[in-house]
């Protein structure tokens, strides 16, 4: 495949962004009209590390890579803006597959009014899909970092946990395909293949007064610890309160692990975890009962623990084993 032929094909798949985008693909750099403060994150997914070709279609790989990056913006309570795509392509990659990766990303981008405004194509030993995503905020005070949790805060998560990990366990054939019903298996695979950046939830949690927030890419046990360490507080969570994805009980049983432990460690759910003042619980009750969170149709919040005084760290108050020592390594 020739580089110029690929770039030409990509220019046809990627939709030029709205009036904000002054210069787009085809120049040395893209030019975008800024709005206040730029909120920027970079995220890469590598075949054999973050996904496996054969388990996901090229479109799903493109969706998943962009969703993982956008999820970081959602976790700041930012509005999405632009994305920049880097494709690392091994020798022999088919033009149609590379274009399909871009098509999958563009479909997600269009739903959130994100312009894929530029990118880079390079040779690489493994298929790599990397996104730089930029959101905008008029006031940095609206954005939620990781460092503001205070003793007395309650901890909430959006959606359900463990679904993506269970979907991957099915794809990996680590559990029998008939562990769950066909529709449940399909839904679990979807959680893995098509994660959803929780923009509506991020904005809602920011509006509810969230003092610290993170997206759950590595799993609650790792990610909530980041909140605790950056905030200098102790976070106590309950495994039994975690909102489990449908079918998780059966999958965890087949794997021989506690469903709560699986939900807290499997990762890749891209839900949000936030620490909020206790008063926010009342403010959210109505919405939670209605079970809707706007455009991305996430279920309501689930309250899973609290922030307490004490040495920085995370504890599961009802964990029988050494979950407290769990740490993600490269």
């Amino acid at each position: 495949m020739r580089e110029l032929e690929l770039i030409d094909a990509l220019e046809h798949v990627l939709a030029p962004g709205g009036p904000r985008v002054v210069r787009w693909l085809g120049d040395d750099a893209a030019v975008v009209r800024g709005r206040g403060y730029a909120v920027t994150s970079v995220d890469s997914m590598v075949n054999g590390v973050h996904f496996r070709l054969g388990q996901l279609s090229p479109e799903e790989i493109g969706h998943r890579a962009l969703a993982g990056a956008l999820s970081d913006l959602a976790a700041m309570g930012a509005h999405p803006g632009e994305a920049y795509m880097t494709l690392g392509l091994p020798t022999g990659t088919r033009l149609s597959d590379a274009v399909s990766v871009a098509r999958g990303a563009q479909a997600l981008a269009s739903r959130f009014d994100v312009a894929i405004a530029g990118g880079d194509v390079t040779a690489a030993p493994a298929l790599t899909v990397a996104f730089t995503v930029v959101g905008w905020a008029s006031d940095p005070g609206e954005l939620v970092g990781r460092e503001g949790a205070q003793a007395g805060d309650l901890v909430a998560v959006t959606g359900t946990l463990g679904g993506a990990g269970a979907g991957l366990a099915l794809l990996d054939a680590r559990v029998p395909a008939d562990s769950v019903s066909e529709p449940v298996a399909r839904a679990l695979r979807e959680r893995y293949a098509h994660p959803e950046p929780r923009f509506a939830d991020g904005l809602r949690l920011s509006a509810l007064g969230a003092r610290a927030m993170i997206d759950l890419s590595d799993g609650l046990a790792t990610d909530a610890r980041h909140l605790a360490v950056r905030s200098g507080v102790s976070i106590e969570l309950s495994l039994q309160r975690l909102p489990l994805a449908d079918g998780l009980g059966e999958i965890a049983e087949q794997l021989g692990v506690d469903a709560g432990v699986f939900a807290a460690t499997a990762g890749e759910d891209y839900e949000l975890c936030a620490c909020l003042p206790e008063s926010a619980r009342l403010g959210s009750a109505d919405e939670s009962n209605r079970g809707g969170a706007g455009q991305d149709e996430a279920p309501g919040l689930t309250w899973i623990g609290r922030v307490v005084e004490g040495p920085s760290g995370l504890a599961f108050t009802d964990a029988a084993d050494g979950l407290a020592g769990y740490e993600h390594s490269l």
Copy 2:
């Protein structure tokens, strides 16, 4: 190596940016105060594709990856702002080597007041260093794209050409080490290992009225064709007018190629090529004679050809062989 240990070490090497940077490493995303229009480019360098470990130190790899990305901003006539670094690290990468890559990039960033404001670390099959760089412009009209060249314009390049390619030929031992004197060999290797983003030249060329501009990463034969195609014009260049790096004659002779052809095709010089109205030549004459271009100490401009009416494309008017058909493929 543990990911958190590496991230901790990187936080000590990377200098927090000035007052523009509101949130830095350690959150889901960086937050930076914008200024008008964001000018954004992404660029990746992969071991075995864009460099070879063993030929360059980790610091040089970091410098080169950031310089290649910043060069795209220079080619727009933009002021540099922030950079976001992604490290893809193979199993067994030493913590000290990963930190040295960051140190090399930070040294370059500091010289141009660029804040490395965020990043990502991931496992990868080959060492990969990718940068997203963001510059800012208050008026997009000050920025120079690739599409504005007009018949009658003159074509200029900054600095000298072929030096990086000659340095690589020496590193690859494709030519005897004694083809040139020791100091010349050292200077050629430097051109390859420490490319310099030509920000001062980019701003000067923009001020001189440049209508189209590009940086020379793939080589003049490829990159000037991009200007011709995007502008819908024909560009005629002279191989004999190309400003050759010191020692290029000897290296090209050893390789059995014409020095001008080598300078036009070897790539990686990261000089700028611009199309300007003829009147700009007078405006630049004085500066050119003084031989200085400000902060990056590039020599003056060299006028190497002109833009003419005709089908989009590039021709070397004095090329004996099929250089006109030269095309870069992935």
